[in-house]
């Protein structure tokens, strides 16, 4: 039982950090794209196409980069939670950026001119737009988190499913299935779904609490 709790907490931690890491790049990128329609017309379709990229492909590329003989092997990140965090943040970046762009683009149309005419500088405008777009950004984050916590390919290839270190819910499910322990696998799957639903519900509560 303790191991299940530990795996669940690790999954939340790894995928949560991956989502936050992606958000830190996605939000400024989406804001930039919402202000530069010509660039957005080229970049957004590419990002939307990348949303569906197989997780195992990202895992494979990252594995080759991080393996001992790879160009980033000196970082010694392979088979660490950090490698999963990087991989999952790459995975969810296109999804979060594309959704945040749509939200910010619409918010910019409505509130951008208002910010400018009230005398806001670039930073104040970004803050005002981000604040108005916050419910949409939270929704994008939850989608990103759900995608990250539910993926298997990256966690398995660059995490290695090491017990007590890199084992997360999806790799644990895969292991239990390979052992024929379907009951345990099903229980872990249920925990995964409950976790995703709980975070979605929590975001709704936060939105209402803050009147977003």
């Amino acid at each position: 039982m303790n191991e299940v709790i530990e795996i669940t907490l690790r999954s939340i931690y790894v995928s949560g950090l991956a989502t936050l890491l992606s958000l830190s790049i996605s939000v400024p990128s989406a804001y930039y794209l919402s202000r530069n329609s010509r660039v957005a017309r080229v970049i957004i379709p590419i990002l939307e196409a990348l949303i569906g990229v197989p997780t195992v492909f990202i895992g494979l590329v990252l594995y080759m980069l991080l393996s001992t003989r790879g160009p980033l092997g000196f970082l010694k990140l392979l088979y660490t939670p950090c490698a999963i965090i990087i991989g999952e943040s790459i995975l969810v970046f296109p999804l979060i950026t594309a959704i945040t762009y749509r939200v910010m683009h619409n918010t910019w149309i409505t509130y951008g001119e208002l910010a400018i005419t009230l005398g806001a500088n670039e930073k104040q405008t970004l803050m005002l737009i981000a604040k108005q777009a916050l419910p949409g950004i939270i929704a994008a984050s939850i989608m990103g988190f759900s995608r990250a916590i539910g993926e298997l390919g990256i966690a398995l290839l660059v995490g290695g499913n090491i017990r007590g270190y890199t084992r997360v819910l999806t790799t644990a499910i895969a292991l239990e299935v390979s052992k024929g322990s379907f009951e345990v696998a099903l229980t872990l799957g249920l925990i995964l779904i409950v976790t995703v639903l709980s975070f979605s519900a929590l975001s709704r509560i936060i939105e209402r609490w803050y009147g977003l």
Partner: protein, 221 residues
């Protein structure tokens, strides 16, 4: 002289005709200008050019002696802060009325508490303090328009542009807005540029009436 449009040509991306063609006009200090014309002739476009929200395709906008669009970006902000544009359809942020009115002051670095006190003071002066704590999502169109005009006034701009301020609103709010406009003309040293398709409003308020027709601007009075 406050703002001068010099040989302005403007079109929107993808549109294959000029919305404004070779428009030149000088807006002087402390006068009230009213732009007349039916919908779709380019009133809002002209207003947004003067408000420095749009950049002309050809021509210059001279603001207090400076060619605005040739200024480096860091120099533009101080000029932009002298001009406020109020949209035809009021845009208010989520939250209460008081915060919305104080927003321009907060952006200018006034402490939040002081800005909110100033917002409350102006609402009291206008006998509208009952609106202070109302959530903006509960306001009628007329109330929202009033709040967006007050939000502009509190900043004390040198140039205030009101795009169809009397459209979409009921009669009692129309009176309230007209009273504010009369007060602005009488008590504030501000240049007003108001667009409307209501000739009676133009006659009552305007020092100069401008008419836009086929992309060009002419003076009616």
């Amino acid at each position: 002289m406050t703002i001068e449009l010099r040989n302005i040509w403007f079109t929107y991306p993808g549109l294959k005709r000029w919305v404004l063609r070779n428009v030149s006009y000088v807006f002087n200090d402390n006068k009230t200008y009213v732009i007349l014309g039916p919908n779709g002739v380019g009133k809002t476009t002209l207003m947004k050019l003067v408000a420095l929200l749009y950049r002309p395709n050809i021509g210059s906008i001279i603001t207090w002696g400076y060619d605005y669009w040739r200024l480096p970006k860091d120099k533009r902000l101080s000029i932009r802060r002298k001009i406020v544009y109020v949209h035809e359809r009021p845009i208010l942020l989520k939250g209460d009325v008081l915060y919305n009115i104080a927003l321009g002051l907060i952006i200018r670095g006034v402490k939040r508490d002081e800005a909110l006190s100033e917002a409350l003071r102006i609402l009291k002066d206008l006998n509208l303090n009952y609106l202070a704590t109302r959530d903006t999502s509960t306001l009628s169109m007329g109330e929202a328009q009033l709040i967006s005009i007050i939000r502009a006034i509190i900043i004390k701009p040198k140039f205030l542009l009101l795009d169809e301020p009397l459209a979409h609103i009921d009669i009692d709010k129309r009176e309230a807005i007209l009273n504010i406009l009369h007060m602005l003309r009488r008590d504030y040293s501000v240049t007003l540029l108001i667009s409307t398709h209501d000739v009676s409003v133009a006659k009552v308020l305007a020092d100069e009436i401008l008419v836009i027709k086929e992309g060009t601007i002419s003076k009616m009075r």
